[in-house]
Symmetry: C2
């Protein structure tokens, strides 16, 4: 039930409230009055004043136009900022079709070439090893746990400790929900089946499966279907039903493995720090809250679209859902822990982020076990 | 991985964008210029104009001052609206200590006595049977599923179809996360153990356990500890560790049952409809997005505080976590389905809400099973 007890109020992110200077300057000559809870200032007043500036900023996103969920999130953020600011803050969203540098969004925001970016933090691990853990970690936090860590467990502060060194203010701004483990032509029954198995799996997860004996390969998206159909590769990790359904993998590789590698990838909004710092407080708050709204909204959209696409996909073919066997998962966990330790050792800040996430995950796991996990099993 | 494909953009909640009238009227006499992406208007201009009104509204919340999470959510919402509006929109939050009517918040907002309210929709089921399902349903959607339904599955539209009849615009505005099933003095091993068992469990869940043979009783919060200690009652359903820890139940009733009855209670912001409709578009958007932010934030805060309190509580005593046995759960499910059917039959709209939730839950369950549930088990 919804209950009542005493607890001191949490201090919120924004504390300073600026009164409207513009209004104050005009108040000398007129007598305001209240009606139905609204303060009215007589209609026509003559005053000398500074007009608020109109901001026209550009945002570079890492995703092509029309990318499901991700482009929606960037566009939604820009629209909400414009509407909430009464048109004082306009953001033009550019895709890689225009800026040509999907994996250099951080650089463009850092330099000020773009005021803003929408990208994935783990794209920049080559530049700074501490950036990689803010997106997602194999066997790590799910979205609910990740958000608790970001907003109440010190995650947001660590994120900005890392990005301040890149001249950037960063906000979580979208989540894919838990991703699926990929399409396999044959079933994986034990560690023996991993040996030499060619899988398209990029990034950190690719390194994990590589350490465990698989052969992670890189193949352009346009050639994946044919490669999988012909057996040039044995498996493909993609995203989840909403994205996978158009690729058609379910028609040629019947085993769909559940995910362990990206339990909810969070994407981020990057803002050039000097430009953000120079914004008035109302627009700073509008940017921060619009980013948070879009983080929440993209998670909801991802869940919804995947649930709908999954139902459709199941009707199209005989898909066999599989969870990797325990010995394989144990091997992956071990490889992942070693890789995390190695990444953490690369910098003081990386160490700090990994330690903070691991400490919170221990507590979060216990609570998720008796709530989310237990509830989904019993209902 | 984060991927790329084509999909038409989703239409967002707010489409109309009003340009700043105030600014436009002053533009005739001056020459604006751009510098570093910011449009500047020369500092001092003389213009005849209407000043934007200052809104001073009052919000009645159902929870006493200092209620964990819930009061924070209402206060956070008010602060964020004030900051994002640059001080043009101030909201004073009143608790029942002042307005004396915690369960009549809807009436006060409907009549305009308060412009806004923060309350639980299911408190008003006596007034309108369709309101009850928007908070939570036993064996129903968890918060992630509920949010997907609200924002992408037609839930928000249904919510406002129901509340429009009460002269109110409603927004989801906070979630408790999955609640625990309560503290029991003795273990429940089968249906036989339910008979006559006295439990403090209010509302719909109380009716469910009542149908199943238990004896739901109503006892004032201040007397609960003593009643449980002396065995006047056998069990107490409260909220979750963050709220329960101060009540001390874990020291006298060692069995802590997992939850089935409130898998994430959503609370709502109510706004008097004519007053909301009369707001300018920027403030409408600020209210809607601040409510959504607080819905997300309270879920994160609830998860975090419960995870921390659970760890602390476990250290304080030897708590035995139990899930109700299958035969008991089956009996509760059956009783719940019958009660839902009966509630749905009370009005056309109630029927529509129940049908919409059940249809989405079927799809959501399948997707949650291979993502959230599977992931929490395998990691």
């Amino acid at each position: 039930m919804l209950q009542r007890q005493l607890l001191p109020l949490r201090i919120v992110f924004f504390r300073k409230i600026k009164t409207v200077q513009l209004l104050k300057r005009c108040l000398d000559s007129v007598v305001p009055f209240f009606l139905a809870g609204v303060l009215f200032i007589p209609a026509v007043t003559v005053c000398a004043q500074t007009q608020p500036p109109i901001y026209q900023w550009r945002l570079a996103m890492s995703w092509p136009d029309g990318t499901p969920m991700l482009h929606n999130a960037a566009a939604r953020f820009a629209r909400n900022v414009e509407i909430m600011s009464g048109g004082r803050f306009k953001i033009i969203v550019d895709s890689p079709g225009r800026h040509k540098a999907p994996l250099s969004v951080l650089d463009m925001v850092r330099s000020g070439a773009y005021e803003m970016g929408h990208s994935a933090s783990y794209y920049y691990k080559g530049k700074d090893p501490a950036t990689t853990f803010f997106t997602t970690t194999p066997f790590g936090m799910n979205p609910t746990e990740m958000n608790a860590w970001y907003y109440y467990g010190g995650g947001l502060e660590l994120l900005n400790k890392v990005y301040a060194r890149h001249n950037v203010v960063a906000f979580p701004a979208g989540n894919t929900h838990i991703q699926m483990g990929g399409w396999f032509r044959k079933e994986i029954k034990s560690i023996q089946d991993l040996k030499g198995l060619k899988i398209r799996m990029p990034g950190h997860a690719g390194e994990v499966v590589g350490k465990a004996g698989m052969n992670p390969v890189s193949i352009p998206p346009g050639e994946l279907y044919t490669a999988l159909e012909r057996g040039t590769i044995d498996a493909v990790e993609w995203v989840g039903p909403a994205n996978d359904i158009k690729m058609g993998f379910h028609k040629i590789a019947p085993y769909y493995y559940t995910g362990w590698h990206e339990p909810g990838a969070e994407v981020h909004l990057f803002v050039n720090k000097p430009k953000f710092d120079a914004l008035p407080d109302d627009l700073k708050a509008i940017v921060a809250i619009a980013a948070k709204e879009v983080s929440f909204d993209m998670l909801s959209e991802s869940f919804y679209r995947n649930a709908i696409a999954w139902e459709k996909m199941k009707r199209q073919s005989n898909i066999k859902i599989r969870t990797l066997p325990d010995d394989v998962l144990d091997l992956f966990k071990q490889a992942n822990d070693e890789l995390l330790d190695r990444a953490a050792a690369k910098s003081q800040l990386a160490q700090e982020v990994v330690a903070s996430q691991r400490a919170f995950l221990e507590k979060a796991k216990d609570w998720s076990k008796i709530t989310d996990e237990d509830y989904l099993q019993l209902r």
